[in-house]
Symmetry: C2
Subunit: 188 residues, 2 copies
Amino acid sequence: MKDKIFEKSIDLFGENGFSETSIQHIVDALGVTKGTFYYYFTSKEQILMEIHLRFINDILAKQDAIIQDPNRNYQEKIYEIICMLMKNIEVQGKSAKIFFREMQNLSDGHLSQIFEKRDEFRIKFQELIELGMEKGEFRKDLDSHIAALGILGMVNWSYHWFDPDGPLSDTTVAKIYIDLVLNGIKAE
Amino acid sequence: MKDKIFEKSIDLFGENGFSETSIQHIVDALGVTKGTFYYYFTSKEQILMEIHLRFINDILAKQDAIIQDPNRNYQEKIYEIICMLMKNIEVQGKSAKIFFREMQNLSDGHLSQIFEKRDEFRIKFQELIELGMEKGEFRKDLDSHIAALGILGMVNWSYHWFDPDGPLSDTTVAKIYIDLVLNGIKAE
Protein backbone atom coordinates (compact mmCIF):
# COMPACT_ATOMS: atom_id res chain seq x y z
CA MET A 1 0.00 0.00 0.00
CA LYS A 2 2.89 2.36 0.79
CA ASP A 3 4.15 2.01 -2.78
CA LYS A 4 0.66 2.50 -4.19
CA ILE A 5 0.21 5.75 -2.26
CA PHE A 6 3.64 6.86 -3.43
CA GLU A 7 2.98 6.03 -7.09
CA LYS A 8 -0.48 7.62 -7.06
CA SER A 9 0.97 10.77 -5.50
CA ILE A 10 3.54 11.00 -8.31
CA ASP A 11 0.70 10.71 -10.82
CA LEU A 12 -1.43 13.38 -9.19
CA PHE A 13 1.41 15.82 -8.37
CA GLY A 14 2.67 15.43 -11.94
CA GLU A 15 -0.73 15.97 -13.53
CA ASN A 16 -2.27 18.60 -11.27
CA GLY A 17 0.61 20.07 -9.28
CA PHE A 18 1.58 19.55 -5.65
CA SER A 19 -0.40 22.46 -4.18
CA GLU A 20 -3.53 21.51 -6.10
CA THR A 21 -3.42 17.91 -4.87
CA SER A 22 -4.81 17.22 -1.39
CA ILE A 23 -4.38 14.10 0.72
CA GLN A 24 -8.13 13.63 0.17
CA HIS A 25 -7.54 13.48 -3.61
CA ILE A 26 -4.85 10.84 -3.14
CA VAL A 27 -6.90 8.57 -0.88
CA ASP A 28 -10.04 9.02 -3.00
CA ALA A 29 -8.13 7.95 -6.11
CA LEU A 30 -7.04 4.78 -4.29
CA GLY A 31 -10.37 4.10 -2.54
CA VAL A 32 -8.75 4.10 0.91
CA THR A 33 -9.17 6.29 4.01
CA LYS A 34 -7.02 9.14 5.29
CA GLY A 35 -6.13 6.85 8.19
CA THR A 36 -4.37 4.55 5.73
CA PHE A 37 -2.41 7.49 4.35
CA TYR A 38 -1.28 8.61 7.81
CA TYR A 39 -0.26 5.08 8.71
CA TYR A 40 2.50 5.29 6.08
CA PHE A 41 3.25 9.01 5.73
CA THR A 42 3.15 11.96 8.10
CA SER A 43 2.35 14.54 5.40
CA LYS A 44 2.09 15.29 1.70
CA GLU A 45 5.43 17.05 1.97
CA GLN A 46 7.07 13.82 3.16
CA ILE A 47 6.04 12.15 -0.09
CA LEU A 48 7.35 15.10 -2.09
CA MET A 49 10.71 14.79 -0.30
CA GLU A 50 10.77 11.06 -1.01
CA ILE A 51 10.20 11.75 -4.74
CA HIS A 52 13.04 14.28 -4.74
CA LEU A 53 15.41 12.00 -2.83
CA ARG A 54 14.82 8.97 -5.05
CA PHE A 55 15.25 11.10 -8.18
CA ILE A 56 18.52 12.74 -7.17
CA ASN A 57 20.01 9.60 -5.54
CA ASP A 58 19.29 7.66 -8.71
CA ILE A 59 21.08 10.11 -11.02
CA LEU A 60 23.96 10.49 -8.55
CA ALA A 61 24.47 6.71 -8.58
CA LYS A 62 24.31 6.60 -12.38
CA GLN A 63 26.78 9.48 -12.64
CA ASP A 64 29.19 7.72 -10.26
CA ALA A 65 29.10 4.57 -12.39
CA ILE A 66 30.01 6.64 -15.47
CA ILE A 67 32.78 8.55 -13.65
CA GLN A 68 34.37 5.31 -12.47
CA ASP A 69 34.32 3.61 -15.88
CA PRO A 70 38.03 3.08 -16.72
CA ASN A 71 37.34 2.55 -20.43
CA ARG A 72 36.13 6.04 -21.28
CA ASN A 73 37.95 9.31 -21.69
CA TYR A 74 36.53 12.59 -20.33
CA GLN A 75 34.73 13.54 -23.53
CA GLU A 76 32.98 10.19 -23.51
CA LYS A 77 32.10 10.51 -19.83
CA ILE A 78 30.53 13.94 -20.40
CA TYR A 79 28.58 12.46 -23.32
CA GLU A 80 27.40 9.49 -21.25
CA ILE A 81 26.16 11.80 -18.48
CA ILE A 82 24.25 13.97 -20.97
CA CYS A 83 22.71 10.77 -22.42
CA MET A 84 21.77 9.50 -18.98
CA LEU A 85 20.08 12.79 -18.05
CA MET A 86 18.14 12.90 -21.33
CA LYS A 87 17.01 9.29 -20.91
CA ASN A 88 15.92 10.12 -17.40
CA ILE A 89 13.39 12.64 -18.70
CA GLU A 90 11.76 9.73 -20.47
CA VAL A 91 12.11 7.03 -17.83
CA GLN A 92 11.24 9.22 -14.86
CA GLY A 93 8.89 11.58 -16.73
CA LYS A 94 6.54 12.58 -13.94
CA SER A 95 9.16 12.44 -11.20
CA ALA A 96 11.46 14.65 -13.29
CA LYS A 97 8.67 17.19 -13.77
CA ILE A 98 7.98 17.20 -10.03
CA PHE A 99 11.70 17.41 -9.23
CA PHE A 100 12.20 20.49 -11.37
CA ARG A 101 8.89 22.20 -10.67
CA GLU A 102 7.82 21.52 -7.10
CA MET A 103 11.07 22.02 -5.22
CA GLN A 104 9.80 25.24 -3.65
CA ASN A 105 7.17 23.23 -1.79
CA LEU A 106 9.77 21.34 0.25
CA SER A 107 10.39 22.45 3.84
CA ASP A 108 13.58 24.48 4.33
CA GLY A 109 15.39 21.58 5.98
CA HIS A 110 14.50 19.18 3.18
CA LEU A 111 15.29 21.76 0.52
CA SER A 112 18.81 22.23 1.81
CA GLN A 113 19.36 18.44 1.79
CA ILE A 114 18.31 18.35 -1.87
CA PHE A 115 20.42 21.38 -2.75
CA GLU A 116 23.42 19.64 -1.21
CA LYS A 117 22.90 16.63 -3.46
CA ARG A 118 22.32 18.79 -6.53
CA ASP A 119 25.55 20.61 -5.74
CA GLU A 120 27.32 17.27 -5.38
CA PHE A 121 26.13 16.25 -8.85
CA ARG A 122 27.26 19.55 -10.39
CA ILE A 123 30.63 19.55 -8.64
CA LYS A 124 31.40 16.02 -9.83
CA PHE A 125 30.52 17.10 -13.36
CA GLN A 126 32.76 20.15 -12.99
CA GLU A 127 35.61 17.91 -11.79
CA LEU A 128 35.31 15.83 -14.97
CA ILE A 129 35.72 19.01 -17.00
CA GLU A 130 38.78 19.97 -14.93
CA LEU A 131 40.36 16.53 -15.29
CA GLY A 132 39.74 16.73 -19.05
CA MET A 133 41.44 20.15 -19.08
CA GLU A 134 44.48 18.72 -17.29
CA LYS A 135 44.62 15.76 -19.68
CA GLY A 136 44.53 18.12 -22.67
CA GLU A 137 41.13 16.90 -23.87
CA PHE A 138 39.49 20.25 -23.13
CA ARG A 139 40.70 23.82 -23.56
CA LYS A 140 42.87 25.01 -20.70
CA ASP A 141 41.24 28.45 -20.55
CA LEU A 142 37.74 27.26 -19.63
CA ASP A 143 35.79 28.53 -16.65
CA SER A 144 34.92 25.03 -15.44
CA HIS A 145 32.34 26.32 -12.95
CA ILE A 146 30.23 28.22 -15.48
CA ALA A 147 30.83 25.58 -18.15
CA ALA A 148 29.38 22.92 -15.82
CA LEU A 149 26.39 25.12 -14.97
CA GLY A 150 25.85 25.96 -18.65
CA ILE A 151 26.04 22.41 -19.96
CA LEU A 152 23.86 20.96 -17.19
CA GLY A 153 21.43 23.86 -17.69
CA MET A 154 21.12 23.10 -21.40
CA VAL A 155 20.36 19.46 -20.61
CA ASN A 156 18.05 20.11 -17.65
CA TRP A 157 16.05 22.66 -19.63
CA SER A 158 15.12 19.89 -22.05
CA TYR A 159 12.47 18.68 -19.64
CA HIS A 160 10.53 21.79 -20.72
CA TRP A 161 10.35 20.76 -24.36
CA PHE A 162 11.66 17.24 -24.93
CA ASP A 163 8.89 14.81 -25.82
CA PRO A 164 9.94 11.15 -25.55
CA ASP A 165 7.09 10.30 -27.94
CA GLY A 166 8.21 12.99 -30.42
CA PRO A 167 10.31 12.58 -33.57
CA LEU A 168 13.70 12.89 -31.85
CA SER A 169 15.12 10.22 -29.56
CA ASP A 170 16.94 11.10 -26.33
CA THR A 171 20.17 9.76 -27.88
CA THR A 172 19.79 11.96 -30.97
CA VAL A 173 19.40 15.07 -28.84
CA ALA A 174 22.29 14.01 -26.57
CA LYS A 175 24.54 13.57 -29.64
CA ILE A 176 23.69 17.04 -30.95
CA TYR A 177 24.30 18.52 -27.49
CA ILE A 178 27.72 16.87 -27.12
CA ASP A 179 28.73 18.10 -30.57
CA LEU A 180 27.64 21.64 -29.62
CA VAL A 181 29.44 21.44 -26.29
CA LEU A 182 32.67 20.02 -27.71
CA ASN A 183 32.92 21.94 -30.97
CA GLY A 184 30.78 25.05 -30.62
CA ILE A 185 28.82 26.60 -33.47
CA LYS A 186 31.49 28.81 -35.04
CA ALA A 187 32.75 27.96 -38.52
CA GLU A 188 36.41 26.98 -38.66
CA MET B 1 -4.34 51.35 -7.63
CA LYS B 2 -4.34 48.91 -10.54
CA ASP B 3 -0.53 49.14 -10.72
CA LYS B 4 -0.23 48.74 -6.96
CA ILE B 5 -2.30 45.56 -7.01
CA PHE B 6 -0.22 44.31 -9.93
CA GLU B 7 3.11 45.06 -8.24
CA LYS B 8 2.03 43.61 -4.90
CA SER B 9 0.85 40.45 -6.67
CA ILE B 10 4.28 40.05 -8.30
CA ASP B 11 5.87 40.41 -4.85
CA LEU B 12 3.59 37.84 -3.22
CA PHE B 13 3.56 35.32 -6.11
CA GLY B 14 7.35 35.60 -6.29
CA GLU B 15 7.86 35.13 -2.56
CA ASN B 16 5.18 32.59 -1.67
CA GLY B 17 4.07 31.09 -4.98
CA PHE B 18 0.88 31.65 -6.98
CA SER B 19 -1.19 28.84 -5.43
CA GLU B 20 -0.22 29.85 -1.90
CA THR B 21 -1.25 33.49 -2.46
CA SER B 22 -4.96 34.30 -2.16
CA ILE B 23 -6.75 37.45 -3.27
CA GLN B 24 -7.29 38.05 0.46
CA HIS B 25 -3.50 38.09 0.99
CA ILE B 26 -3.08 40.63 -1.80
CA VAL B 27 -5.77 43.03 -0.55
CA ASP B 28 -4.67 42.64 3.07
CA ALA B 29 -1.11 43.56 2.14
CA LEU B 30 -2.42 46.73 0.49
CA GLY B 31 -5.03 47.56 3.13
CA VAL B 32 -7.88 47.60 0.59
CA THR B 33 -11.03 45.51 0.16
CA LYS B 34 -11.72 42.62 -2.19
CA GLY B 35 -14.17 44.95 -3.97
CA THR B 36 -11.23 47.12 -4.98
CA PHE B 37 -9.44 44.07 -6.38
CA TYR B 38 -12.46 43.01 -8.43
CA TYR B 39 -12.91 46.54 -9.76
CA TYR B 40 -9.60 46.14 -11.64
CA PHE B 41 -9.18 42.39 -12.14
CA THR B 42 -11.58 39.50 -12.65
CA SER B 43 -9.32 36.89 -11.05
CA LYS B 44 -5.88 36.07 -9.70
CA GLU B 45 -5.21 34.19 -12.93
CA GLN B 46 -5.79 37.38 -14.93
CA ILE B 47 -2.91 39.01 -13.03
CA LEU B 48 -0.72 35.96 -13.64
CA MET B 49 -1.45 36.21 -17.36
CA GLU B 50 -0.62 39.93 -17.33
CA ILE B 51 2.75 39.17 -15.68
CA HIS B 52 3.48 36.54 -18.33
CA LEU B 53 2.42 38.78 -21.20
CA ARG B 54 4.48 41.77 -20.08
CA PHE B 55 7.52 39.56 -19.52
CA ILE B 56 7.44 37.84 -22.90
CA ASN B 57 6.43 40.95 -24.87
CA ASP B 58 9.32 42.85 -23.30
CA ILE B 59 11.95 40.30 -24.29
CA LEU B 60 10.42 39.88 -27.76
CA ALA B 61 10.72 43.64 -28.34
CA LYS B 62 14.31 43.66 -27.08
CA GLN B 63 15.18 40.70 -29.29
CA ASP B 64 13.66 42.44 -32.33
CA ALA B 65 15.78 45.53 -31.70
CA ILE B 66 18.92 43.36 -31.63
CA ILE B 67 17.91 41.42 -34.76
CA GLN B 68 17.35 44.63 -36.70
CA ASP B 69 20.64 46.24 -35.71
CA PRO B 70 22.54 46.63 -39.02
CA ASN B 71 25.91 47.10 -37.30
CA ARG B 72 26.25 43.64 -35.80
CA ASN B 73 27.08 40.29 -37.35
CA TYR B 74 25.25 37.10 -36.31
CA GLN B 75 27.77 36.12 -33.65
CA GLU B 76 27.35 39.52 -32.06
CA LYS B 77 23.57 39.33 -32.26
CA ILE B 78 23.55 35.95 -30.52
CA TYR B 79 25.84 37.41 -27.85
CA GLU B 80 23.60 40.47 -27.39
CA ILE B 81 20.52 38.27 -26.95
CA ILE B 82 22.28 36.10 -24.35
CA CYS B 83 23.33 39.31 -22.55
CA MET B 84 19.81 40.70 -22.67
CA LEU B 85 18.31 37.49 -21.23
CA MET B 86 20.89 37.37 -18.44
CA LYS B 87 20.29 41.02 -17.56
CA ASN B 88 16.57 40.30 -17.52
CA ILE B 89 17.01 37.83 -14.66
CA GLU B 90 18.36 40.76 -12.66
CA VAL B 91 16.01 43.51 -13.82
CA GLN B 92 12.83 41.43 -13.81
CA GLY B 93 13.88 39.11 -10.96
CA LYS B 94 10.50 38.25 -9.47
CA SER B 95 8.63 38.36 -12.80
CA ALA B 96 11.22 36.04 -14.33
CA LYS B 97 10.79 33.58 -11.46
CA ILE B 98 7.01 33.69 -11.87
CA PHE B 99 7.31 33.36 -15.66
CA PHE B 100 9.40 30.22 -15.43
CA ARG B 101 7.72 28.64 -12.43
CA GLU B 102 4.02 29.43 -12.45
CA MET B 103 3.13 28.86 -16.10
CA GLN B 104 1.16 25.72 -15.26
CA ASN B 105 -1.32 27.86 -13.33
CA LEU B 106 -2.46 29.72 -16.46
CA SER B 107 -5.74 28.67 -18.07
CA ASP B 108 -5.36 26.54 -21.20
CA GLY B 109 -6.33 29.42 -23.50
CA HIS B 110 -3.82 31.77 -21.89
CA LEU B 111 -1.13 29.11 -21.80
CA SER B 112 -1.36 28.56 -25.54
CA GLN B 113 -1.05 32.33 -26.15
CA ILE B 114 2.15 32.37 -24.07
CA PHE B 115 3.49 29.24 -25.78
CA GLU B 116 2.96 30.92 -29.14
CA LYS B 117 5.04 33.89 -28.05
CA ARG B 118 7.75 31.68 -26.56
CA ASP B 119 7.87 29.77 -29.84
CA GLU B 120 8.14 33.07 -31.72
CA PHE B 121 11.15 34.03 -29.60
CA ARG B 122 12.85 30.68 -30.15
CA ILE B 123 12.14 30.60 -33.89
CA LYS B 124 13.62 34.09 -34.37
CA PHE B 125 16.70 32.93 -32.47
CA GLN B 126 16.91 29.84 -34.65
CA GLU B 127 16.65 32.02 -37.78
CA LEU B 128 19.67 34.02 -36.61
CA ILE B 129 21.64 30.78 -36.35
CA GLU B 130 20.50 29.77 -39.84
CA LEU B 131 21.41 33.15 -41.33
CA GLY B 132 24.82 32.89 -39.65
CA MET B 133 25.24 29.43 -41.18
CA GLU B 134 24.45 30.80 -44.65
CA LYS B 135 26.87 33.68 -44.17
CA GLY B 136 29.63 31.26 -43.16
CA GLU B 137 29.83 32.57 -39.60
CA PHE B 138 28.56 29.30 -38.15
CA ARG B 139 29.20 25.66 -39.12
CA LYS B 140 27.04 24.49 -41.98
CA ASP B 141 26.34 21.10 -40.39
CA LEU B 142 24.47 22.42 -37.32
CA ASP B 143 21.01 21.29 -36.30
CA SER B 144 19.72 24.84 -35.88
CA HIS B 145 16.55 23.70 -34.12
CA ILE B 146 18.30 21.79 -31.31
CA ALA B 147 21.12 24.35 -31.19
CA ALA B 148 18.56 27.11 -30.53
CA LEU B 149 16.80 25.03 -27.87
CA GLY B 150 20.14 24.12 -26.28
CA ILE B 151 21.57 27.64 -26.15
CA LEU B 152 18.33 29.21 -24.91
CA GLY B 153 18.01 26.39 -22.38
CA MET B 154 21.50 27.08 -21.03
CA VAL B 155 20.64 30.76 -20.60
CA ASN B 156 17.11 30.24 -19.25
CA TRP B 157 18.35 27.71 -16.72
CA SER B 158 20.50 30.45 -15.17
CA TYR B 159 17.47 31.82 -13.35
CA HIS B 160 17.83 28.74 -11.10
CA TRP B 161 21.30 29.68 -9.92
CA PHE B 162 22.34 33.14 -11.09
CA ASP B 163 22.47 35.63 -8.22
CA PRO B 164 22.64 39.25 -9.41
CA ASP B 165 24.14 40.15 -6.00
CA GLY B 166 26.73 37.37 -6.28
CA PRO B 167 30.36 37.63 -7.39
CA LEU B 168 29.68 37.24 -11.14
CA SER B 169 27.99 39.92 -13.23
CA ASP B 170 25.40 39.08 -15.88
CA THR B 171 27.85 40.26 -18.55
CA THR B 172 30.63 38.01 -17.23
CA VAL B 173 28.38 34.96 -17.40
CA ALA B 174 27.09 35.98 -20.86
CA LYS B 175 30.69 36.27 -22.14
CA ILE B 176 31.58 32.81 -20.85
CA TYR B 177 28.40 31.40 -22.41
CA ILE B 178 29.07 32.93 -25.82
CA ASP B 179 32.65 31.60 -25.76
CA LEU B 180 31.30 28.12 -24.90
CA VAL B 181 28.65 28.34 -27.60
CA LEU B 182 30.98 29.63 -30.31
CA ASN B 183 34.10 27.63 -29.56
CA GLY B 184 33.05 24.59 -27.55
CA ILE B 185 35.16 23.04 -24.82
CA LYS B 186 37.36 20.70 -26.86
CA ALA B 187 41.08 21.45 -27.07
CA GLU B 188 42.32 22.29 -30.56
